[in-house]
């Protein structure tokens, strides 16, 4: 898919909780085609220590309004600078990058998002629904204040929630949720995005039941377009770039994921 460098303007910047912001950005030119799971490399202007672009999942695309949404968790200088952008501010973005989730039709799918990992699952869930899938979405967080956008996700999915402190939904890690307690998991595919530990645990369950598990990985990136080879992950075929061969991988391709599963790793918020 052809990649573009485009200028966007902030339309709205909504603080979702203490460290998450939802940005809506309008493109100066018509938006190119994008598929769920792809990401964008965002230039953070005026940030002294963020020379390189920052990668973010494409959270939502609204072709009618010619906007995209990014869900930003503030973890360092770059994300903090994005979180304070005001309506009208300009942002330079490269997109769409990476491979995205393969399209599935007429299945029964489970989406599992931990913390900010729900970001790519909106665009995905919406598309899966359109393609005739029955969509269940499990959102995990440390506590109720870390569970974001559950109402919005219920537009296209049956939403399940688990929190580690039990302040919302079921208590415990996402992998302890009752949805996984069913003898034969009724899902054709599981899509997962969140901390590595969580994704490993979910893929472990999926693999045991023979269900394909698609995970969206993160990695430190310099270029986002396969030019620097900085973002590799160890796969059964050797080092692969998360930015071009991923970010979405079938968990089976990943080296060490089946064996060293750390079940129930906590979600850092």
């Amino acid at each position: 898919m052809k990649k573009y460098i485009l200028n966007f303007k902030i339309i709205t910047n909504q603080a979702l909780n203490y460290n998450h912001n939802l940005l809506e950005l309008k493109c100066d030119e018509p938006l190119p085609e994008m598929i769920p799971g792809q990401f964008a490399e965002v230039r953070v202007d005026g940030s002294v220590n963020t020379y390189l672009r920052r990668p973010f999942s494409i959270h939502r695309v609204d072709y009618a309004k010619n906007t995209i949404h990014l869900l930003i968790k503030s973890v360092g200088e770059g994300t903090r600078n994005l979180a304070v952008l005001r309506s009208g501010d300009k942002v330079n973005i490269m997109l769409p990058l990476g491979n995205g989730f393969p399209a599935e039709e007429n299945g029964k799918v489970l989406l599992v998002g931990g913390g900010c990992g729900i970001a790519p699952l909106w665009f995905l869930g919406e598309n899966l629904k359109k393609n005739g899938n029955d969509v269940t979405m499990l959102i995990g967080g440390r506590s109720s204040k870390d569970v974001l956008l559950s109402e919005e996700y219920s537009e296209f999915a049956k939403v399940l929630i688990s929190t580690e402190d039990g302040s919302l939904g079921e208590t415990g890690m996402v992998t302890a949720h009752s949805v996984f307690k069913q003898e034969n998991l009724p899902f054709t595919t599981i899509y997962c995005c969140g901390p590595d530990g969580m994704m490993k645990a979910v893929s472990h369950i999926a693999e045991k039941q023979g269900i394909p598990c698609l995970v969206s990985l993160e990695n430190t990136m310099a270029c986002g377009i396969g030019a620097c080879l900085c973002c590799v992950v160890d796969t059964k075929l050797g080092h692969r770039c998360v930015c071009t061969d991923g970010p979405v991988f079938n968990s089976k391709e990943l080296k060490g994921w089946s064996a060293e599963t750390e079940v129930g790793c906590s979600i850092e918020n």
Binding site: C223, I225, L229, C230, D234, H239
Partner: protein, 303 residues
């Protein structure tokens, strides 16, 4: 008409802007963003005699106005290059330069020999300065005898333009430059990355899997500029300037310091269109200053 063309030994480049090895893939990664043929040339990523998986991740750490990398020469080896990559490079009509690396002199020679047979590869850049491999790499570029040994050996098997890429991690880059000049290099390019390190204070661990890595980007520009200036005065062969070049002004500074051409590295990551912007920026500068030929800038520093 402004003349942007420059010569580096037998290479006639339509403009002085090249891409630094390891930062521009095999060119095609940038096809969506720019007309790659508009560049003076491209230096593709390192090729070694054997397939290499490179270093484990994490391989990258951001630093103030720069970055550390520890890629470690990941590539599929020269035979794969000849079979699978070279044919794809034929679509480019500008100057294609291969970056040749290895851990042993024999390995360098093998790659150079095979590159020599590829018509569309106009030159090789001998990377004796990679800080990210355990054996060889930078070790060759930090002492005169080993720099001479590898240059000489490759010179014997390579007929076309031989560029040797120097390491900045030395007491006197002048000595190394003069040594490889004497050993038969047709040009030198500098600088490769400075050896650096990043630590995650919270985790109390190195950020990179290899602990140390190569520092690149604007942060190193002052060091690169100094070295280019020193070397350009000390050797007769052309010098290609590399290090932190992000804007046309940066490029012009390197030309003034004595570089006949320049390479854009890390800046490609931040702005994949950096190279073409630099070319048009150089043209603007020449017009603004009433200079008709970019070659007049080379070594034109008034001291």
């Amino acid at each position: 008409m402004t003349d942007l063309s420059v010569n580096v030994h037998k290479l006639n480049l339509k403009n002085p802007v090249l891409t630094a090895s390891g930062t521009f893939g095999y060119g095609e990664e940038f096809d969506d963003f720019i007309d790659v043929n508009a560049l003076g040339g491209i230096i593709v990523k390192a090729t070694t005699s054997k397939h290499r998986e490179g270093n484990p991740y994490p391989r990258m750490a951001e630093t103030p106005m720069g970055m550390l990398n520890a890629v470690g020469l990941q590539n599929k080896g020269i035979d794969y290059f000849v079979d699978k990559i070279y044919p794809k490079l034929l679509k480019y009509s500008n100057c294609i330069i291969a970056n040749v690396s290895d851990s042993t002199v024999e390995g360098y020679v093998e790659v150079a020999e095979k590159m020599n047979r590829l018509d569309h590869i106009s030159a090789i850049e001998l990377n004796i300065s990679c800080p990210n491999v355990k054996e060889g790499g930078m070790a060759f570029g930090t002492s005169c005898p080993s720099a001479i040994a590898v240059t000489r050996a490759v010179r014997e098997v390579y007929d076309k333009t031989l560029i040797v890429k120097l390491s900045p991690n030395v007491t006197s880059i002048i000595e190394i430059a003069q040594a490889v000049e004497a050993a038969g290099a047709d040009a030198v390019s500098l600088i490769n990355t400075l050896l650096g390190m990043a630590i995650d204070a919270e985790k109390r661990k190195p950020v990179l899997s290899t602990i140390t890595g190569g520092l690149s980007g604007p942060a190193i520009k002052p060091v690169a500029l100094r070295m280019v200036w020193q070397v350009a005065k000390a050797v007769k062969i052309p010098v290609i300037g590399i290090g932190g070049i992000t804007t046309a002004t940066d490029a012009i500074e390197f030309l003034l310091a004595g570089a006949s051409a320049i390479q854009v590295g890390t800046a490609n990551f931040v702005d994949p269109q950096a190279t073409v912007k630099i070319i048009s920026g150089i043209e603007d500068y020449l017009q603004r200053h009433g200079i008709s030929d970019v070659k007049q800038l080379i070594g034109g520093l008034i001291v």
